[in-house]
Assembly symmetry: C3
Amino acid sequence: MSVITLTTDFGLEDSYVAAMKGVILGINPQATIVDVTHAVPPQDIQAGAFALLGVAPYFPKGTVHVAVIDPGVGSERRAIALQAGGYFFIGPDNGVLTLAAQVHNLRRKLSLVRPSSAIKAIHLLNPEYWLSEVSSTFHGRDIFAPVAAHLTSGEPFDNFGVPIEDYAMLELKAPVERDDALIGEILYIDRFGNLISNILNRHIPEVREQARVEIAKACFRGIFQTYANAHVGDPLALIGSSGFLEIAVRNGSAARQLDAKIGDPVIITMPKT
Amino acid sequence: MSVITLTTDFGLEDSYVAAMKGVILGINPQATIVDVTHAVPPQDIQAGAFALLGVAPYFPKGTVHVAVIDPGVGSERRAIALQAGGYFFIGPDNGVLTLAAQVHNLRRKLSLVRPSSAIKAIHLLNPEYWLSEVSSTFHGRDIFAPVAAHLTSGEPFDNFGVPIEDYAMLELKAPVERDDALIGEILYIDRFGNLISNILNRHIPEVREQARVEIAKACFRGIFQTYANAHVGDPLALIGSSGFLEIAVRNGSAARQLDAKIGDPVIITMPKT
Amino acid sequence: MSVITLTTDFGLEDSYVAAMKGVILGINPQATIVDVTHAVPPQDIQAGAFALLGVAPYFPKGTVHVAVIDPGVGSERRAIALQAGGYFFIGPDNGVLTLAAQVHNLRRKLSLVRPSSAIKAIHLLNPEYWLSEVSSTFHGRDIFAPVAAHLTSGEPFDNFGVPIEDYAMLELKAPVERDDALIGEILYIDRFGNLISNILNRHIPEVREQARVEIAKACFRGIFQTYANAHVGDPLALIGSSGFLEIAVRNGSAARQLDAKIGDPVIITMPKT
């Protein structure tokens, strides 16, 4: 069992992703390689971290998650590997790995933050596991891919470098409470135009059908289970498949219909009881 | 041998497809997963069914074809599996699976409609084969992917649910004959701008070089074997690689050049003999 | 070990690529299939050849590289296979395979041209290795995919056809020297807007920090190791990950910022010493 996932901002037009796969298969022909996405907006570390957060826990334990959103390649930024929750994470030391490593993600119950003592980190310094020639611009191919391949081939984690504790952390911005309202924001907009917020299931009180939801210029009532709770064309709020509160329009695009964008506030107000 | 194909409208920007793959590999690490396409227009059941129809018969027998174009997810629509012609089909009960299951597709000789008695259908009701927690919005990950993985792991088809016969059917609209003309329509436009119609090889009489073809504002003669039968830049009709009559422009885009779109009529008139 | 790579202009919207994969897995269930890219601009042989050139040497020896950019399909153009440098190349005889087969690419040290005697070529003529029914429009599925699958299954190269020597060659246009200047051109623009030229490492004299670089309307000094040698937003020249001189803008798009396009000249002038 040796699964390697790839999350990058390389796109699929060029052949950068394929070069990484060639390197991996040259080292571990048994590796199963899965693309998470290569459409992360160029150099958007937060978006890459978020993409990985949503899927990492659905892979079998032992999976090596490689993320290459790497604006600092060739500078002094370190190459690192993390071990957390039974998974490995490999990439640049800019935070892109840390949402997935940090949040103790029990699939849809995104709720626990892992104590940092439960994350083991190393600075990748052992060139024995890299390509013999390392470019200054493509560590995905020359360092991260071969390290992932050697790791799935059974090399012990500690052999790849030197323990560190001061790796860069990215934090999920938590929603804030103000008076009766919970104020979050839109983190991500998916292909269907669903607006995914930073509000988690556990942030929201139990009585949900009367909750008042404000987003962009729209305002409506209720947090529901599924799209079918709204009429076609109407907006609704629900706990989405990643465990975050989402705003959707049934059989439509909430982003377009509500003219909403990343960073827009989402305000949940519970009725006075 | 355990091949699983995926046809969805999820796109490749988000990580929904990867979540399905993670679930599959967690259950059956030996599965070989192939993307058919994830660029089906959102919630376009007909387009998804058509994409699958064209490729299903090129896969080895035993392949499990999963299609998730699922506007009704979370409503009362059923999750189903079909067994037909040596293949398995898994997805929502909205017709997306039925073109491929129904048409006895001998590769390019699309011609026989399978008797419905030759299709075995079950309503997926056994939660033993699902993820332990099922969301209301992403059955692709929580039900269809794990069922496909368990099926390729050797679980008997009948164990997954309860036999049904009243599943939703999608039919390929047949072309109609009127006087001397055969009137079909454009079903699909591919990346090259080729216009793929619902007219099959068997619908067209033998003498083809004199056939008159009308599409959008264009009119030209002949149904040929290959693009090379036309001059560069000229439109021509031919039996395409999926077995349907296509309108193409050699080294160009028929859709753009003829200003044609899905649903446009294609009229074939044979010369009086 | 049986890796097959696919480079096409089929896009990922349609299911043409999946049909090729189904055919391959039906013949060799053990094949590992890797997409190089399917976003080659329709019928752009040069772009396809260039995409393959950059990644072919990163795959393990024995890999079969299939490239289908095939405007002449169905005409008299031949289907061919090449054996060179431990790799196999399969596709139409229009040059798309020959950059990768011809250039003795030692990864980033793109420098040697392979003597043509070191390339073994055959005309694919043995229908025993094709699908039983061959369309006139999709040889990727009906000829190239099954040949690749049989080759990775251990069939000897010579069995697939008849030796030839007059296959079509594509050449990398070399930069020219004029007075003190080296004049190359932009071959390719990647997703990040990096401008990749036809100037190789070995073309450039040793003293690089004082080199004067002209591209489109911009002019600046220095050829460096990595993006971090420039300030954010500034253009710089460097030897990119494929071994070619690239013009980049740190954390930006050189193509957009310099308003440059494919074919634009790149002029390197060394200071008088």
